[in-house]
Subunit: 371 residues, 2 copies
């Protein structure tokens, strides 16, 4: 990583935490939040950071305090949990279908400041069928497929028709467009990532121009991610839905810019683990496995408490193997290590609690809206 | 899979469940439990099924009712949760280190029927330092590394010394040996898996023989798993710690026997998902991604509700893409699918609740001891 972390497994407060546990370096977290806020501020773009990464009302509050206009959510459960904590400016970024999910959204919209996305006329019709007279209008954004091929309209005519239907109904408000290019955030090569980001921007710009030509002003043009946010400032985005920058991980650590520099954020998310077996030369076993660290990412690029050059490999549900470089002193039985996150979002989702370490102690923050 | 599942996404009770959700086919679950119990019974071996798979007191109760002598646990949290539910015969299969974890075990041992494993003298010394006069003796099994290179003593002399220390202390009871060959459970080729199982058995047999020669009777010789249990009946095991057989998954579906037949258990674990986006030809998007299905396994081999030959691929935290074979009718927006588990243990761990479907409705069972 580009910046040394301030956290050490010898930190006194870590001793009181049962392992494996999710640990956040509070100072690094706040520095990451401030750095992204500053980037958006200077570029004149709004920030609506994504809560799918952290699922935390405390981190959402830090982001809002740093100037974010609201918080993006992947699920209704995340939005419900954050709304209950008083978070405003919620944007649910996945299209919602069915009376159950849309019913929860209509209910949430009576009490909270929420916007949803749609990519199909049927979703709009289902929402209208659930809205009662006297309900506040439901704000809707048209989700555009900018190349990820996951959700969104891919066809300009379909998108225009959806926007017109939304704008033409008094119970709805047309709030703009969204285009999330999740497929390109982790492209390691800078030139390739930049070119892919420009392509996604061009798709969004086409939709925006067509809407404007029909007097359908897209108030929000929402999208972007940690990997492309620098390049996306050249695009039409009015706001950035960046998520991972708060924690970073082994996946993002290799996503470098043209100069070969990693993103200007540092690792703040770790799994605290204990060495539980030491019977083999050159390696020790820790109590953090596939139930503590997400498997869909590269191996951890930071292991604090083990000699430099140590490696981690998964060894089942509850164990991992720390490989020790030849000649280095292996950590002893019972010693603790801080293992950098593999892939931050799904690693967070494996835990109920953040243990946030600051100079003056540890705070526990709940991880909300897990299944 | 070898047996058609009895479950259908058209099952009336599934309509009431918010997606994504973990669903268990109750009838198949019970048939799997009975089948493994019968195998052990016929072979004259005890069954101590592993709760790391299900983390459920209800499933543990079904296993005990079918004749299991107890339940194996990977973590102290699992053992505490099952003990609180009245489960007896608990074996914690990971070596425990440190005053915190061993302190919880010593406390648990005052109220519950628990056995632990050790692979290092320091663990024994730490446990002894925590035991109070008047505490019931703590039963300890020596964990043997049978080739997985994760935990366990690899050296016969070290194992003998550990067993002697345990047996020689009035506050402890030497209960036997454990050797878990997790590394060979998923070997697809039957002959290769059989040969690997024989090697693991031989290591355990060597330890057992040496202990017996010193009048240290290993009451328990515990180990095995779903992939090798048939071959392990030729080994020295007094009991089988099988876990995955209750649910099966895409990983185990390809682990065939010499005749090319899959294990005699059927898929009972599914993620219920809703089609949320249908804008691309040949595929639809569902609301189950890396936070609903474990990523460390092959793609699901069963997708109920989609045309035969449909495929699943991950598309981020909250989404997956169902590929539809050419010419087949894609499921519509809002339709529900049952997606077979990729890797059962870590998939279970992503959810708080099993929705167990039976002819007469749905029951909710809590998933216990998650981080």
């Amino acid at each position: 990583m580009n910046k040394p972390t301030t956290l050490s497994p010898a930190h006194a407060t870590l001793e009181s935490i049962a392992t494996p546990a999710l640990v956040v370096d509070g100072r690094t977290l706040e520095r990451n939040i401030e750095r992204m806020a500053e980037t958006a501020r200077r570029a004149g773009r709004a920030l609506r950071p994504h809560a799918k990464t952290h699922k935390s009302k405390e981190i959402a509050a830090l982001q809002l305090r740093a100037g974010a206009v609201g918080i993006a959510c992947a699920t209704v459960s995340e939005a419900e949990a954050l709304a209950a904590a008083g978070v405003t400016g919620l944007l649910i970024t996945s299209p919602a279908v069915g009376a159950d999910r849309l019913g929860r959204i209509v209910k949430l919209n009576r009490e909270a400041d929420v916007t949803i996305v749609a990519d199909h006329m049927q979703q709009v019709a289902q929402a209208l069928a659930l809205l009662q007279p006297g309900d506040p209008p439901l704000r809707m954004v048209v989700d555009v497929d900018v190349g990820q091929a996951r959700t969104g309209v891919s066809d300009l005519a379909a998108g225009m028709s959806l926007a017109k239907t939304i704008a033409g109904n008094g119970q709805l408000r047309f709030a703009g467009i969204q285009g999330y290019a999740g497929h390109i955030q982790h492209i390691v090569d800078a030139a390739e990532r930049k070119s892919a980001a420009a392509k996604a921007s061009a798709v969004l710009q086409t939709f925006a121009t067509a809407l404007q030509a029909q007097d359908l002003q897209p108030g929000l043009i929402s999208g972007s991610g940690t990997g492309t946010h620098g390049y996306d400032l050249a695009g039409p985005y009015t706001e950035l839905q960046v998520g991972s920058y708060v924690f970073m991980d082994a996946d993002y650590a290799r996503v470098v810019d043209e100069r070969g520099d990693p993103p200007p954020f540092s690792s703040s998310l770790f799994v605290l683990a204990t060495v539980v077996s030491v019977n083999r030369p050159g390696e020790v076993t820790v109590d953090a496995g596939t139930k503590a660290l997400a498997t869909n990412g590269p191996p951890p690029c930071v292991i604090l408490g083990a000699p430099p050059g140590s490696t981690y490999k998964f060894a089942g549900d509850e164990h991992g193997i720390i490989g020790i470089p030849p000649g280095a002193q292996a950590p002893g039985l019972g010693e603790r290590l801080l293992i950098g996150a593999t892939h931050c979002d799904p690693t967070v989702n494996l835990h109920s609690t953040f243990h946030v370490i600051r100079d003056d102690g540890v705070e526990k923050w709940a991880i909300l809206g897990r299944y």
